[in-house]
Amino acid sequence: MATLTAVQILAYALASALFLGHLLTTRPGATRIARGVLLIAFTLQLVDIGIRCVGGENPVSSTREAVGFVGFLIAGGFLLAGLRYRLSAAGAFAVPASLTLLVLARVVPAEPGAPRMGALGMTHVFLATLGVAVFAFAAVLAVLYLREETRLKKKRFNRMAADETPLATLDGLGLRCVSVGFPVFTLALVTGAVWIARLGGLAASEARRPEYLMAVAAWLAFGGLLLARVGAGWRGHRAAWLTLGGFAGLFTVLLLYVLRSLS
């Protein structure tokens, strides 16, 4: 098990290095190798998840598994999107994110005393995980958008970037991610609230836990973004920044969860 984890992390690290290397040197052909390595890493993680499932530890059974699963979904989403769009630059952001999440999941110790979550709890964790993964992808697209935008505003485009995704595609894909992620994340919040209520509600002190507030703030940011896009025609630049803001909130939530389970 430990070997499988180590190999996984190594493969993700190598893929990250290759994608980052591609971003810096823009050598053609480098992306194909990077994608190949990523596919291996992804497959290894799939096997790992399968083995853990058989062992009764499914991806949404605990925070640590869920964190790793977010990374897995991001990597999968990136590989899938790569079939249709030229997004090699996104790899430099998406793959290190997957790596970080995987490492986080593996350094967090198992929670031997954790209560069984039940179906509702697992639904909540699954939806939250999926929502975060989709938003993470939206954030990656936003980063790409802003990077490409800056370059075009300065009229500086490298010759290699001829195969980069046009701004309009990045913007459109970002919108699609947010409009898929938002209902998923909304459901996650609702199931989370119901779950907590079933467990007997929260004490007044617990209700103000920063991660809950942050999750609601992120939810509001993404909701606002969708409204602004549809209603006020926010696109491109501002939409990208708002996506990043919303995701920063979510990332903080994730981090707080991890820290809490470490403590």
Binding site: L152, K155, T165, P166, L167, T169, R235, G236, H237
Partner: protein, 459 residues
């Protein structure tokens, strides 16, 4: 068959065959005549030309059954090269009808070359046709297809390579636009002013599926440009609403002060709900206020930016290729249309009949009204009428024969002749008179097997 052109190509190139295979099929210049005669002797080949360069060996042919001709030729080539037919077939590609025309056009335009845009290939294609004419294996079909190829090759060179400056500005603009938009289908291009460079860029975007709107201080000039590009016009006074609809703006007015001010663009952006807007400013002095570039989702490129980018792309010839490909598509479509409209041979016959008949009828009337004429005088009268008619016919006939070989002008020439003389000419599948392979006196040159080269064509 979609195009109805009995034209085909069989060959191999750097893309399909390694050097050692190409070497086996390569031919020395002094062998050309013998090789061409060998090809022409194959049934059902009617016309044939050989293009042999260090990167490709291609046989262009006309035949009533192109597929059968290709099969025969494939065997023949394998025999000549001394290789197994099946082995060779792996490296060979065959195209028939419109696809063959398209291929020839791409080859002549240097789009299929190892180094895209290399200038030698056009000369080599010309040489191939000249050789076929010299060795009397060319006829009307090859003449039409090859002259179409020369035409597109010249156009591609003129508009994308030779006059590099103005056009590469336009191609760089388009490349820039590609980084912003995912294709131009359904996008709206607003052309402000009617400069030549703007015209080129707009035309190219139009070829990629964009809708073009032209606005200019002088309406008539805008209409002229719109008609040429295939767009429509918009009143210059109402620039605001034109901006609201546009995705790409190409500005090339002669105005002394910026026409597209920051305020104007900002107002338009509000209405456009922040959609991405790309302003290409190729006017000097500038048409777009530089501060406009600070607006979110607005991108501005001025002539200096474009020039700098064009210089950076000096060796990136690939950037021209997309535009050239679009041109080739266009020319193939035009060629097909013209080809179908060509009825040169029957038109010449009908014209001759009409004029000679009229002259003879008039001579008869004149003879009838002069009862005292003797046999000699009567004969002289008829001869005079004939001679005048033939003299008058000579130039139009020559013009039709010559011009008929041109895939584009030929059609209009033939149509004009038919209209002017009210000629009733039946439709035909292909050209009837070989345009290039005629002798000075207008007689069709006999092919090697003794049949007139023109007769075998187009059935």
């Amino acid at each position: 068959m979609p195009g109805g052109i009995d034209f085909a190509v069989l060959g191999l190139s750097h893309k399909t065959a390694p050097l050692d295979v190409r070497e086996r099929l390569a031919s020395a210049p002094d062998q050309i005549g013998e090789i061409l005669r060998g090809f022409a002797g194959l049934e059902p080949v009617r016309e044939v030309a050989l293009l042999s360069t260090c990167n490709r060996v291609e046989v262009y042919l006309a035949a009533p059954d192109p597929d059968a001709a290709i099969a025969a030729l494939r065997r023949h080539l394998a025999d000549r090269a001394g290789v197994d037919e099946l082995d060779l077939a792996n490296h060979l590609y065959a195209r028939v009808d419109v696809d063959a025309v398209h291929h020839l056009f791409r080859v002549a335009s240097s789009l299929d070359s190892l180094v895209i845009g290399e200038p030698q290939i056009l000369g080599q294609v010309k040489q191939a046709h000249d050789d076929a004419v010299t060795h009397r294996t060319a006829g009307g079909v090859l003449a039409a297809c090859f002259s179409g190829a020369f035409r597109i090759a010249r156009r591609v060179r003129r508009e994308t390579e030779i006059a590099r400056n103005p056009v590469s500005i336009s191609s760089v603009s388009i490349e820039f636009a590609r980084k912003i938009f995912d294709g131009f289908q359904g996008r709206t291009v607003l052309l402000v002013g009617a400069g030549k460079m703007g015209d080129l860029a707009a035309r190219s975007l139009h070829a990629h599926g964009a809708e073009v709107v032209v606005t200019n201080r002088t309406l008539s000039r805008a209409q002229e440009v719109a008609a040429r590009i295939g767009g429509h016009t918009h009143p210059f006074e109402d620039l605001h609403s034109a901006l609201v609809k546009a995705d790409i703006v190409i500005a090339s007015t002669g105005a002394r002060r910026p026409v597209l001010t920051r305020a104007l663009i900002e107002a338009a952006q509000k209405k456009r709900r922040g959609r991405l807007l790309f302003l290409i400013d190729i006017a000097v002095p500038r048409d777009v206020e530089p501060e406009a570039a600070q607006l979110p989702n607005v991108f501005v490129a001025d002539i200096d930016d474009l020039q700098r980018l064009a210089d950076e792309h000096r060796d990136g010839r690939r950037t021209h290729a997309d535009r050239a490909e679009a041109m080739v598509e266009q020319e193939v479509a035009r060629f097909l249309e013209a080809y179908r409209g060509r009825r040169v041979g029957p038109t010449i016959v009908a014209l001759r009949d009409r004029v000679l008949e009229t002259a003879r009828a008039e001579a008869e009337r004149a003879v009838a009204s002069l009862p005292g004429l003797g046999d000699r005088e009567q004969r002289a009268m008829f001869e005079l009428a004939d001679a005048i008619a033939k003299k008058l016919l000579h130039r139009p006939q020559v013009a039709l024969k010559k011009g008929g070989g041109d895939p584009v002008e030929g059609a209009s020439l033939v149509t004009a002749a038919q209209r002017l003389f009210e000629l009733d000419v039946p439709e035909e599948g292909g050209p009837s008179a070989p345009a290039e392979a005629t002798d000075k006196d207008g007689q069709a040159a006999p092919a090697e097997d003794g049949r007139p080269a023109g007769q075998a064509v187009g059935r």
